[in-house]
């Protein structure tokens, strides 16, 4: 659609720009992954330190028993609230996907009746990134 008569110099310049964009995307992807998994490693280290602080003091069974013995009503309520919020969020997310799946086909069909050349974003029927577009 955007085809034009480009000279060799134009094509070389465009190729250089496209390679830079590609390399920038590659670097961004590497940095993003490094920060994400670096964060996970950092968190794993602190989790290990928390567990390691109990080494030599108690057995796993002791820890389990002490844990149960020390759990108060307010702790249980806090965990229930946090867990409930997560479950609520996940159920809402699923409901949203179901609704998109139910309505998207109809919207597409109705819009196509008005604009037969209607173009699409090519997401999945549940409104998620198309697997072919994933990194």
């Amino acid at each position: 659609m955007t085809k034009s008569n480009k000279t060799k110099a134009d094509l070389v310049a465009e190729n250089r720009v496209l390679r830079r964009i590609d390399s920038a995307n590659g670097w961004a992807s590497v940095l993003r992954t490094a920060i994400k998994w670096g964060g996970m490693v950092g968190e794993a280290r602190y989790a290990w330190l928390a567990v390691d602080s109990l080494a030599g003091q108690s057995t796993v069974a002791d820890i389990g028993l002490k844990f149960l013995a020390e759990v108060g009503v307010s702790d249980v309520l806090a965990w229930l609230l946090a867990g409930g919020a997560v479950v609520f969020g996940l159920v809402q997310k699923k409901l949203r996907g179901d609704t998109i799946q139910r309505l998207s086909g109809r919207i597409q069909q109705l819009e196509q009746q008005i604009d037969p050349r209607r173009t699409s974003s090519h997401l999945t029927v549940r409104g998620q990134t198309n697997p072919v577009d994933r990194e």
Partner: protein
């Protein structure tokens, strides 16, 4: 008490990691797409009303819709890091598709009346605003790193401007940088939107 603290810390850390590194980003992508879909619907309604010289066959409609489609499709690849690295890698380079995109946009808006042009320009600005908002808030763990980088970048721009005795040119430079990045992203999204069509 120590056992309780250790175990709840481990579980909380795991939950926080899951929330920040996966769930939050997914939510932001969905919210960003929702905003873009709302803009695309608004554009559709404008074209459907066939007012201000805008209709479905209008090149301005096709251009903006393809750009929105491209952004919706590849929103999972947009964030502060990608924009930062791209702007660094593209510094000093002429990106012809961006200039072509702007020229085509101006030409296409010229075919509409003043109000039609203003409405489409407003839609495009809101698209940029949504993209900037998404790029920043979608990566909370990067925000911690991104703010110092951004401050360093702004500081470097300011120092350079002062060194060149061009303090008055700073707003223009920042504005030009913003316009350049917007055009570049729009052109890339437009191409992706066309390839998706």
């Amino acid at each position: 008490m120590q056992a309780m603290l250790a175990l709840s810390s481990v579980i909380s850390l795991a939950g926080l990691a899951w929330l920040l590194l996966w769930l939050w980003r997914d939510y932001c992508i969905d919210a960003y797409r929702q905003r873009l879909f709302a803009l695309r619907d608004e554009l559709f309604d404008l074209a459907s009303a066939s007012a201000h010289g805008l209709s479905f066959p209008s090149p301005a409609y096709a251009q903006l819709r393809a750009t929105l489609n491209g952004l919706i499709r590849f929103s999972s690849k947009v964030d502060l890091v990608a924009i930062g690295i791209l702007s660094l890698r593209m510094r000093g380079m002429a990106y012809r598709p961006a200039a072509e995109f702007d020229a085509r946009w101006a030409r296409n808006l010229g075919r509409l009346d003043a109000e039609g042009g203003a409405r489409l320009e407003s839609l495009r600005q809101r698209m940029h605003l949504a993209t900037a908002h998404f790029a920043i808030v979608s990566v909370p763990h990067l925000l911690v790193l991104g703010v110092p980088i951004l401050l360093a970048f702004v500081g470097a721009v300011l120092v350079r401007a002062v060194l060149h005795s061009a303090v008055r040119a700073v707003p223009a430079r920042l504005s030009a940088l913003r316009a350049r990045m917007e055009s570049m992203y729009d052109a890339a999204a437009f191409d992706e939107g066309l390839s998706a069509a």
